[in-house]
């Protein structure tokens, strides 16, 4: 097989990687907000489940979570939901996992805004909701950008874990060349794909950080 054919085959695997990356962000970013508000709630009814959820998700390895989501419906309940769609099992696990991490970043960002700003908002006659959306939110976005970019770049590489349930993402695609063609280099070549993609993301986040750096101009 030529270099070109192998690159093409790896791109097919990388497409699965990118699909998981994109869809996870799409669903986990908003879901994280919901969990963050749950964790910050004054009412135990909301905060306790939220905090327990975050504890369980952050306290167990993502790889184990993928295995549990994929196998348990069939083994324990005799109902193999993901028989025809392994990717869905991976996506659900990733959304839940990353939403938990994102929620804690959101919470940190929101709680870092001094109470005085809410009080100032109240004095100026703004409601609590108005203060949050018009005063606080943009500052939160600015503050959480560095930790979020960190987590998002981690997500790119965490996608490689889905090979435990035999989904052919880029690393599994490369490993199949070992069994099929007896060649090893495609496995190491996958690093180039990750590096390039993470490079693009880094530039993108740098651009956003500069854009939001409005106090320095």
């Amino acid at each position: 097989m030529s270099f070109f054919e192998i690159t093409l085959a790896l791109f097919q695997g990388f497409f699965v990687t990118l699909k998981l990356f994109g869809l996870t962000l799409l669903f986990a970013l908003p879901l994280g907000f919901l969990i963050a508000f749950g964790s910050m709630s004054k009412y135990k009814l909301f905060s306790l489940p939220s905090k327990t959820f975050v504890w369980i998700i952050r306290g167990t390895p993502l790889m184990l979570q993928i295995i549990v989501v994929f196998y348990v419906p069939g083994i324990l309940f005799n109902y193999p939901i993901f028989k025809d769609d392994r990717f869905l099992a991976a996506l659900i696990t990733f959304v839940i996992n990353y939403a938990a991490y994102f929620s804690e970043i959101y919470r940190g960002g929101i709680e870092s805004i001094p109470r005085g700003q809410y009080e100032a908002g109240q004095v100026l006659g703004l409601t609590k909701t108005q203060t949050f959306f018009k005063v606080v939110l943009m500052q939160v976005v600015k503050n959480i950008l560095p930790p979020m970019s960190n987590e998002i770049i981690t997500l790119v590489k965490d996608t490689s874990l889905i090979r435990v349930i035999a989904i052919v993402e880029i690393i599994k695609a490369a490993e199949r060349f070992i069994a099929k063609e007896a060649i090893l280099w495609p496995l190491f070549y996958t690093g180039v794909f990750y590096l390039l993609f993470c490079g693009v993301l880094t530039l993108l986040f740098n651009y956003f950080e500069k854009k939001l750096d409005y106090y320095k101009t």
Partner: protein
């Protein structure tokens, strides 16, 4: 608050314990798989890349001895054959989790596996071989000379069992890898000195021209008795008996022999 946290932790641990217990308990009752796959109109077959047993041709279609035989059997069952790539070290979980319906990929019969799956009749002979680097040909000449060699095999494979059952090798440095090709990768990388894997796979990879494994060789030493490939179904599955009778038909009309000839495996067929 403290009490609540304690209660949650206890609950979580109890949950884990129940789950572990439930998955450990073997189910002995009759499994109505024939009705199940007929309702699904397909048999999901767990496989790996394993030339000449199961591999994809240029168009992406699964071919190979097992793949073609499986197509024939499914035809007779009146269902379509759906090949699902799996990780070999989680084959039993896949089978019990119903994400596949059978393991049909050069699956070696052994006593421990017999406790977990229901084997069909044996259809092919296989053996375990020791693979070393050609550079070490003078150093490693028989099993006794491997006494200080670092060994590798596929985790939960028959090769691994063969190592543990050999008196002179069982205390060697040992690594259980995720697949047979990963085991060979370790020998190439010199992170291990000898791999114990299936002859079918070893011969294919080592003899592949322009491959990365040509620097390896098969050591002329017997590490385990001959063994047999069979299809693995869920424990107690009624498919085993049905497929056995279909295999007998396919053997009688010469279909099996014809497929074996196509893949150069005529000598490995079980004829009885």
């Amino acid at each position: 608050m403290k009490k609540k946290v304690l209660a949650i932790i206890c609950l979580a641990l109890a949950g884990i314990a129940v789950f572990t217990l439930a998955s450990c308990m073997g189910k002995e009752e009759k499994v109505e798989d024939l009705a199940y796959i007929t309702a699904n109109k397909k048999l999901v077959i767990g496989i790996t890349d394993f030339e000449p047993i199961d591999f994809q041709d240029a168009s992406g279609k699964w071919v190979g001895f097992d793949a073609e035989l499986a197509e024939k059997v499914c035809e007779k069952l009146g269902v379509s054959a759906q090949f699902q790539l799996i990780n070999w070290d989680t084959k039993i979980e896949e089978l019990n989790g119903k994400t596949i319906d059978c393991i049909w990929n050069g699956f070696t019969v052994d006593a421990d596996r017999q406790k977990k799956v229901s084997f069909s009749k044996e259809y092919m002979i296989n053996k375990q071989v020791i693979v070393i680097r050609k550079d070490d040909a003078s150093k490693y000449t028989d099993i006794a000379s491997l006494a200080d060699a670092a060994l590798v095999a596929e985790s939960a494979s028959v090769g691994e069992k063969a190592i543990k059952a050999t008196e002179t090798l069982k205390d060697n440095t040992y690594v259980g890898q995720a697949s047979q090709s990963d085991a060979l990768k370790e020998v190439i990388a010199k992170t291990a000195d000898a791999a114990v894997i299936d002859f079918t796979m070893a011969a294919y990879l080592i003899n592949k021209e322009d491959g990365d494994f040509t620097s390896l060789m098969i050591l002329d030493a017997k590490i385990a008795d001959d063994e047999y490939y069979a299809i693995g179904f869920r424990k107690g599955s009624d498919l085993t008996e049905k497929v056995n009778s279909l295999l007998a038909d396919l053997e009688a009309d010469g279909t099996i022999k014809a497929i074996a000839e196509k893949y150069g495996l005529s000598d490995s067929l079980v004829t009885k």
